[in-house]
């Protein structure tokens, strides 16, 4: 079976861990996130052609005084970049992190999520922003860890993208 390492990245509080929790059952508790800055889960995805064992590295959210340990990116075959649709500043944080990923790992498949789409009344991402993101990155979804919208599709998408590289 093919195994692939993917990293889920973004600012603190954008809902990365909740997205993963929607998709997998975690062996390790979230205490590893706060202590070591990373929690690893596994999910086997059945694509049309074959099965892929996704090793999902849930990396702690970037904060002002808590930078992401860049060695966690090493060897990743794909990244899921998560921003909070109700907080525009988290998008620029995600873009900064993505720049570092590109510097450290190179050009690898990515999926961009504007999360918390269920919070309609607080949604701040204009269509223009979404359009710009779509022009810049191949896969951009509006997701919700609460309702599960586009969560599974995200992981299938990144799996397919990684296999097609």
């Amino acid at each position: 079976m093919i195994q692939k390492k993917i990293c889920v990245l973004g600012a603190a509080g954008v809902g990365k861990t909740s997205l993963i929790a929607q998709f997998v059952y975690s062996k390790f508790s979230e205490k590893y996130l706060s202590s070591m800055g990373v929690k690893i889960d596994r999910k086997i995805v059945q694509l049309e052609s074959q099965q892929v064992n996704l090793m999902i590295w849930d990396i702690h959210g970037e904060e002002k005084f808590k930078k992401i340990t860049s060695s966690y990116f090493r060897g990743a075959s794909g990244v899921i970049m998560v921003a909070d649709g109700t907080r525009p500043d988290t998008l620029s944080v995600a873009q900064n992190i993505f720049q570092r990923v590109e510097q450290d790992v190179g050009n690898i498949p990515s999926v961009w999520l504007l999360n918390k789409v269920d919070l309609e009344d607080q949604w701040c991402m204009s269509e223009g922003v979404v359009k710009q993101l779509n022009e810049k990155y191949v896969s951009v979804y509006q997701s919700s860890a609460k309702t599960g919208e586009n969560v599974e599709q995200t992981f299938f998408n990144i799996a397919e993208n990684m296999l097609n590289v």
Partner: protein, 872 residues
């Protein structure tokens, strides 16, 4: 077409030439196109073809799906056929598996039974009961040395699990997650502790679990061990990792997540699942035997040693008692032992040695002995001599001998001591007589002064004074002689003090210089000094004859070894003396004369400088004169000159300091103007500081008052002793403005308006007209700023407007004012916000009308029309 081919010569030629080949090609094509014939053709070479590619992995892979399908189909159709075929294989395999399982079970059972009834096993059963674990688990944990429970082979960059082995298959489920987490932990530790890339985590430990990690170029081998694995396991891990790298190098290098390539690693990783138990085979208790042997030998040795020690102790004790008995001054009467303590009884001369001091010599313990001695005087010669030494305090130069009750004294001793000895021995038993014939009695010691004199005789120029034990020198001597004297006298240990400060050091630099000054009489301008080498050095300027004389004299001076006149300039003594006599320079001025050229430097007052400038070239022999004297001024002289030239008024005080002439007090304007012109012409005055209050005369004050107040007709001004009196009649507005205007008149002490009366009030309009007519503004040509007088007039004009508005609230009012500089007036009114004051009544506009004079009789003047419009 066929017909055409038939008649084609080329076709005919080809048919003739390749008829046979064409037939063979057609046959081949038939075989190829006919599936039945093609299969038959291939079936003939299939076995040979497969045989040729038998060792090719690709063939196996290619056939695998077909074989799997075939096998599946076969089993589905007829399982028996396949079972029959596999029977010869399955039987031995199953037997071998069962045999292995039974063997393991027996081994485990054996291990458990071995421990079943031993005391240790009872403890383990209690532990199993207490902790809730199975007995077998407790036995395993207690007998296990170490066990490798899991082996992870991890891709280094991605942390993905390449292969995994475990002693318990249930542990393999989350191995891939654990593998990634191990990688993350390694990264975390390295980042947290800022380890260099070459420093990698080698082991992690949690209780009795240890994760040993071997890092390789592309992959990492990690094993989870329970217990204490031997260090050799790390070496084994390294070797295994190397083996894996050699086998899978290319696949590792291009690893893309596909782990199926590494299935063959099982054979390399499975042997790492090592286990080792505590060896419980019965072995002869060699350690116990050795320990017991050591114990027995130690006991026997200790007993022997103890007996020997006791015997030795007894022997030493006897020797000790014997020694005491033979010691002069000691008499041992009894010895016994009670409760382990030895008691010694007897007599002891106080001068005899302490009995306890001998214990150490015989290696005896002081705590085990108690002495019970009574004092007595021993009369044997040895003790008597000792007592004599002790009591007489005999000097070391004497010796004693007792023979037949006579004490013989030898050596050197003082008479006094001998007398004391004879007196003392009268009362000593055993000495009847003292013989001092052989004693050399020295003469009494000399006094301190005699000893000083014996030791050291001062030279004639030095006087020695001895007071008690103190030595003091006076007179004169060289430094070297004084140092020698001090060193010599230092041998007198009883000398209390030594003082040679009063001795004149003949060869000291100061003294030599003093002598030189006295002998040579250096002229003014010559500076003498003495170098360390005692060379007399002269600097400055002197006459040639003095220099020659000084050279001769200096050589004759004691302690001067040479004369250095390199820095001495030769002067014409005769001319310089004449110059000094002629010019009489102050002490602050230096004169330099060289070949008729006279140069003066220093500081002097202007008078001397002027005098020197006039006089210098008149002196005989002076050919040129250069004056570089800085002029200084004496405050008294400058002040005197200032008073003479400035004639200060009585109320003025003058003072002078640091080139500044200060003037304070009060004075007339005339004197102040005069003094400003004159002050800086006084010699020595560089700055004039005038802070004098001006005094105005009554005439001056009146003149200013007339200009400032511009009294209307019917008003008269008078000034007497600084008091302004205003008399006559004036309108009320003028009177009201007086106070402000009077305040600006300088020199005025007060003003009096008791004789000033207000005119009778006209009606509003008339009054207004009168006031407008009486308003005069006076400005100075080319003076762009508003003067105090202008300001007062403007204010008055403003008041008029206010009142005009009050009188004519509903109509426009035109006021015409004749004024020579009307443009300026408008500008000033705007600038001084006169408009602002009127705005509360409405709109104020000003307009210049240049030809409006005829009716008003003020020709050629500019006029201003002010219009005030009351707003509804």
């Amino acid at each position: 077409m066929t017909d055409h081919n038939h008649h084609d010569p080329m076709q005919q030629l080809r048919k003739l030439l390749f008829k046979e080949e064409e037939a063979r090609i057609s046959a081949i094509e038939e075989v190829r196109d006919n599936e039945e014939l093609h299969a038959k053709e291939i079936s003939e070479v299939l076995v040979e073809a497969l045989d040729l590619r038998a060792h090719d992995e690709g063939l196996g892979k290619a056939l695998m799906p077909a074989v799997e399908t075939a096998v599946s189909e076969s089993i589905a159709n007829d399982p028996k056929a396949f079972a029959d075929a596999l029977f010869p294989v399955m039987g031995p395999a199953i037997r071998r598996s069962i045999q292995y399982a039974i063997s393991e079970m027996l081994q485990s059972l054996n291990q458990t039974l071995e421990q079943a009834f031993s005391p240790k096993s009872m403890l383990w059963r209690w532990e199993a009961f207490r902790t809730g674990k199975s007995f077998a688990e407790v036995v395993m944990l207690n007998t296990l040395l170490y066990r490798v429970e899991q082996v992870f082979w991890i891709h280094k960059e991605t942390g993905l699990l390449l292969a995994h082995e475990s002693f318990d298959p249930s542990l393999t489920e989350d191995a891939d997650v654990v593998s990634s987490m191990l990688t993350a932990v390694g990264d975390f530790i390295q980042d947290s502790f800022q380890g260099s890339p070459n420093q990698e985590v080698q082991s992690l430990r949690l209780g009795d679990l240890e994760v040993m990690i071997e890092q390789g170029p592309y992959s990492v081998l990690a094993v989870v061990c329970r217990g204490n694995p031997p260090r050799s396991l790390q070496v084994t891990l390294g070797q295994t990792l190397e083996h894996l790298l050699q086998t899978f190098h290319d696949v590792l290098k291009t690893f893309d997540g596909d782990t199926s390539h590494f299935s063959a690693s099982h054979d390399m990783l499975a042997p790492l699942l090592l286990v080792d138990y505590v060896d419980h085979e019965k072995k002869p208790p060699i350690k116990l035997i050795i320990a017991l042997s050591i114990l027995v030998i130690s006991f026997v040795g200790w007993t022997s040693w103890n007996v020997e020690q006791k015997l030795a102790l007894k022997h030493r004790w006897q020797s000790y008692i014997q020694t005491l008995k033979e010691t002069p001054g000691l008499v041992i009467t009894d010895v016994d032992e009670h409760e382990g303590i030895h008691h010694i009884y007897g007599l002891r001369d106080p001068l005899a040695i302490q009995a306890a001091s001998l214990l150490k010599k015989f290696e005896l313990n002081e705590a085990g002995v108690q002495y019970h001695f009574q004092p007595y005087h021993a009369l044997d010669h040895g003790m008597m001599l000792k007592r004599l030494w002790h009591l007489s305090k005999a000097p070391s130069s004497v010796s004693f001998k007792i023979q037949d009750d006579v004490l013989y004294v030898y050596g050197k001793a003082s008479q006094a001591w001998l007398s004391e000895l004879q007196l003392m021995t009268q009362w000593m038993d055993g000495i009847a007589l003292v013989n001092v014939d052989a004693v050399d009695v020295p003469k009494p010691p000399k006094t301190f002064q005699e000893r000083v004199m014996m030791l050291w005789q001062p030279i004639d120029s030095v006087q020695l004074h001895v007071q008690g034990d103190a030595v003091m020198l006076t007179g004169s001597a060289t430094i070297a002689w004084l140092q020698q004297a001090k060193a010599r006298l230092a041998s007198l240990k009883d000398m209390a003090s030594y003082d040679d400060h009063a001795v004149l050091r003949l060869d000291s630099v100061d003294y030599i210089l003093q002598l030189a000054q006295q002998a040579l009489h250096p002229p003014r301008g010559v500076h003498l000094s003495i170098t360390k080498e005692h060379i007399l050095k002269a600097q400055g300027a002197a006459s040639a004859s003095w220099i020659a004389n000084a050279q001769k004299k200096s050589v004759a001076l004691k302690y001067i070894l040479g004369f250095d006149a390199k820095d001495l300039k030769i002067l014409n003594k005769v001319n310089l003396a004449r110059v000094i006599a002629a010019l009489e320079p102050p002490a602050s001025v230096d004169l330099f004369l060289n070949k008729g050229k006279l140069l003066v430097k220093g500081e002097a007052d202007g008078r001397w400088i002027t005098f020197a400038n006039l006089q210098a070239l008149n002196i005989k022999g002076v050919q040129s004169f250069q004056n570089q004297v800085k002029q200084i001024w004496h405050a008294d002289a400058v002040l005197e000159q200032a008073k003479l030239r400035l004639h200060p008024e009585p109320s003025v005080q003058l003072s002078f300091a640091d080139g500044v002439l200060h003037a304070r007090g009060q004075a007339s304007k005339r004197w102040i103007s005069f003094v400003h012109r004159e002050a800086l012409h006084i010699d020595g005055v560089f700055t004039f500081d005038e802070q004098v209050d001006m005094i105005y005369s009554d005439e001056e004050i009146l003149k200013i008052a007339m200009t400032t107040l511009q009294p209307p007709e019917g008003v008269r001004l008078q000034v007497s002793q600084g008091v302004l009196s205003i008399l006559g009649e004036a309108d009320i507005a003028w009177i009201e403005s007086l106070k402000a205007q009077v305040a600006v008149i300088p020199g005025l002490q007060s003003f009096d308006i008791k004789s000033l009366h207000a005119k009778a009030q006209a009606d509003g309009w008339e009054q207004l007209q009168i006031q407008v007519a009486s308003t005069r503004l006076q400005t100075f040509a080319n003076h762009p700023l508003l003067t105090v007088k202008d300001e007062a007039a403007l204010k008055r004009l403003s008041n008029i407007f206010h009142r005009a508005v009050e009188l004519h609230p509903d109509s426009r009012l035109h006021l015409a004012i004749a004024y020579k500089r009307s443009e300026k007036l408008v500008l000033m009114m705007r600038n001084h916000a006169i408009h602002q004051g009127l705005k509360k009544y409405g709109v104020f506009e000003s307009q210049i009308i240049t030809d409006f004079s005829e009716n008003q009789g003020v020709k050629q003047d500019s006029r201003i029309v002010f219009t005030v419009i009351k707003q509804p």
